[in-house]
């Protein structure tokens, strides 16, 4: 189908574009920006007056809960949420049940996800069998089945020799290794940042050193093995500083932060709000500020939703017993805009952190409106204010600390390979 998107403000960080112009889509690809290709006649047009036209968002962490946790979410519900959130590509962590440690499971998932309304799914394979941290997975086979990177989701490899070998093996094939940084001993039974709020509420704390010690280990091993390391969900100011120093020392490392951690801190736990139970934990206000600044200056490469749908039973429990995680697909864009607005960042720079930058981390030619690329496009009204309610959320997970709040930025259209996956209600 040939579509002409008119009257919008095109913001395309990959090509450093920010101007009012038209975008032309043909055969699922971007056929032109500003100038129609020869002989283009549109079959349909989208009036994007008052809207931003940008590349579809690329999310580095979205749990789809398949296979294994279909009672929490299904591919259908979460893909509808992704489209409603303007997300057209997403990486999913391997912590499904069973974990993504066999090519067959990965093929099944990518096959199930191959529908026109669905975002492109890029599975992160398990680095070790069963995520148990003992035996390497068949990474090369898994890569052929569609895995773009290998990781341990929120678990860690305790045995540092296995970790070293896993990174060496991944480096052999040039596969990126995605790891979260949390020392399991220091984080033992922890449910909140080890600070003032945990002290007051009597919650078991997870100290910042749990992050920095684990981070030191994986940074050293990245240097040793030459593996391409991506640190998932950095949470502390000290962590951001270590990434900055490691990069200055020439270590190949990228990292991301979850959208919640840009806006919330330990104080948002209030009186035991289970929606503020997240992994890694929300840390001090100074940590939050360092994450915001680190993302702005590029030390932190990308912003992700860390989408984790949890059912009501999982959240309606005392704080420490509640399951960690928040739904995020439909909040990624508004939370990006909120950060940009509060930091007074140009839109083209802010949107880079959810389009071209995560695409670079993934090694994908996505997150761009470059001519000839897939027509993955998000059209949103940056001024429209949206109240986050259970009814509005398409995700099966209604768990978000932003429930009831009003955020600016409403997605009007999401095109995936030129196909309208999300359109305004009639």
């Amino acid at each position: 189908m040939r579509i002409q998107i008119t009257n919008g403000r095109v913001v395309d960080p990959a090509n450093n574009v920010d101007r009012n112009t038209d975008v032309f889509v043909a055969d699922g690809l971007i056929a032109g920006v500003g100038k129609a290709p020869a002989g283009f006649n549109a079959e349909a047009s989208i009036d994007a007056a008052g809207c931003i036209v940008c590349p579809g968002l690329v999310d580095l962490a979205a749990r789809l809960r398949e296979p294994g946790f279909e009672y929490r979410a299904t591919l259908e519900s979460e893909m509808a949420a992704a489209a409603a959130g303007g997300i057209t590509s997403l990486a999913c962590p391997p912590d499904t049940d069973p974990p993504l440690d066999e090519p067959g499971l990965v093929e099944m998932l990518t096959h199930r996800a191959r529908l026109p309304d669905f975002a492109h799914v890029y599975p992160v394979g398990a680095l070790t069998v069963g995520l148990a941290g003992q035996r390497l997975t068949e990474m090369a086979e898994l890569a052929e089945a569609g895995c773009v990177a290998f990781g341990q989701a929120n678990t860690v490899i305790l045995d540092t020799q296995v970790l070293l070998r896993a990174m060496q093996y991944a480096a052999t094939f040039g596969f990126p290794v995605w790891l979260s940084a949390q020392d399991p001993y220091l984080a033992r039974s922890g449910v909140a940042h080890d600070g003032e709020v945990a002290a007051r509420l009597g919650l078991t704390g997870i100290p910042v050193v749990a992050e920095t010690i684990a981070l030191a280990t994986i940074l050293h091993l990245a240097q040793e093995t030459g593996a391409r390391l991506h640190v998932a969900r950095i949470s502390s100011a000290a962590g951001v500083e270590m990434i900055r120093a490691a990069r200055a020392a020439g270590i190949k490392v990228s990292c991301d932060v979850a959208a919640h951690h840009l806006h919330l801190c330990e104080n948002d736990i209030g009186f035991f709000n289970p929606h503020a139970r997240l992994d890694p934990p929300l840390r001090a206000l100074s940590d939050r500020d360092a994450l915001r600044a680190g993302l702005a200056d590029g030390t932190v490469d990308a912003l992700c939703s860390d989408h984790t749908p949890v059912d009501d039973d999982g959240k309606q429990a005392p704080f420490g017993e509640a399951e960690a995680g928040a739904t995020g697909l439909e909040l990624l864009l508004p939370l990006t805009l909120k950060w940009a607005h509060e930091m007074k960042l140009p839109l083209v720079k802010a949107l880079a952190r959810v389009t071209s930058d995560p695409a670079r981390v993934l090694g994908l030619a996505a997150g761009t409106l470059g001519v000839g690329r897939a027509a993955d496009i998000c059209i949103f009204d940056p001024e429209a204010r949206v109240r986050i309610t259970r009814e509005r959320l398409k995700s099966q997970g209604k768990n978000t600390p932003f429930l009831g709040q009003e955020l600016a930025g409403e997605v009007r259209y999401t095109l995936i390979d030129g196909h309208p996956a999300h359109t305004p209600p009639l």
Binding site: F271, F272, N273, G320
Partner: protein, 320 residues
């Protein structure tokens, strides 16, 4: 969820979940209400009819015969019907959820839930759930949640201090022991700072103190002798058995030597200092018998006052 859920919109006590955020006037009102109740126990008929026809459910998700009994006595002296439920569930044995249990019991026309739970925040969750389901006529009293709070213990401690020392604004109070794991300590700290005690000290080895405990308005001492110097009140905390040998402390013997309250250490406090303990005591671990049974100990009066304070809280919440 972020406003203080234990006060109603007129600022009146709706539930008793924690001492944090309770206005000084409410604490004083509870202590004042408790005073005449101490006399009820002296009467031949130890009963007043304030809660006649009301049902008090003791919901104990964590075992505690002692605390449960004091609530039971308090409720019975107020003429309430008392139903004791020991619901031994750990988070690992999945069955009926906490809120399912609450729903079922509120269908049995409960007026007051007295809740003890191993997880910090469980009584808050119950109070929020009752409000969200239109049953906020049921009142919740926290009888101890995880490491978070034990407000009636904190209040009975304040009653005891007031009884012996009268004026809070001239006192130096030391809390000694396992502050990290203690809901009692947290409630004591909030109560003492709210009532205007100018210096609240905590004394413990670093392994038994929460990070940033000083943010709660206390002065930290690692040396017990230094910390006890010149204090008016010594509040001892119980050290749980499972914490005595391991990564927190090497042995009960070493703990006793450095952090046990012995007569010679107590000599550093003011001569008229009182010694308190929430019970049950570990003699020879956190406290020497000579001190526990000594003239400065007010540990048994604490227990007696505890009944009156719990009667006060229940009558204020449920007497409407």
């Amino acid at each position: 969820m972020n406003s203080n859920p234990q006060l109603n919109k007129h600022g009146e006590l709706q539930h008793l979940l924690t001492i944090e955020g309770l206005p000084r006037e409410i604490i004083a009102a509870i202590l004042d209400t408790a005073a005449p109740f101490t006399e009820v126990a002296e009467r031949e008929v130890k009963k007043v009819p304030l809660l006649r026809g009301k049902s008090v459910f003791n919901l104990f998700f964590e075992n505690s015969t002692r605390t449960r009994t004091t609530f039971e006595i308090a409720a019975k002296r107020l003429s309430a019907d008392v139903i004791n439920l020991n619901i031994n569930t750990s988070s690992t044995t999945k069955g009926e959820t906490l809120l399912d249990t609450v729903d079922n019991l509120s269908a049995l026309q409960a007026d007051i839930f007295v809740v003890r739970h191993a997880s910090s925040g469980a009584p808050h969750l119950i109070a929020q759930h009752l409000a969200a389901t239109g049953r906020d006529h049921i009142r919740v009293i926290n009888a101890g949640d995880g490491r978070h709070a034990h407000p009636t213990q904190g209040l009975l401690d304040m009653y005891t201090i007031r009884h012996y020392k009268k004026d809070f604004t001239r006192l130096t109070v030391a809390i000694v022991g396992d502050v990290l794991h203690s809901r009692v300590a947290r409630s004591q700290i909030h109560a003492l700072t709210t009532l205007g005690v100018p210096e609240v000290r905590v004394i413990a080895p670093k392994t038994l103190l929460p990070t940033q405990v000083e943010q709660m308005g206390v002065r930290v001492f690692n040396d017990m002798r230094e910390g006890l110097r010149g204090v008016d009140v010594v509040m001892m905390l119980r050290l749980q058995n499972e914490r005595m040998n391991g990564a927190l402390l090497p042995s009960p013997q070493e703990y006793f030597k450095y952090y046990g309250l012995t007569p010679d250490k107590l000599d550093l406090a003011k001569p008229d200092a009182i010694v308190m303990h929430p019970g049950p005591m570990n003699r020879g671990v956190e406290i020497d018998s000579a001190v526990a049974d000594g003239r400065q100990a007010v540990i048994l009066p604490q227990v007696t006052f505890g009944i009156a304070v719990r009667m006060a809280v229940m009558s204020m919440l449920g007497g409407a």
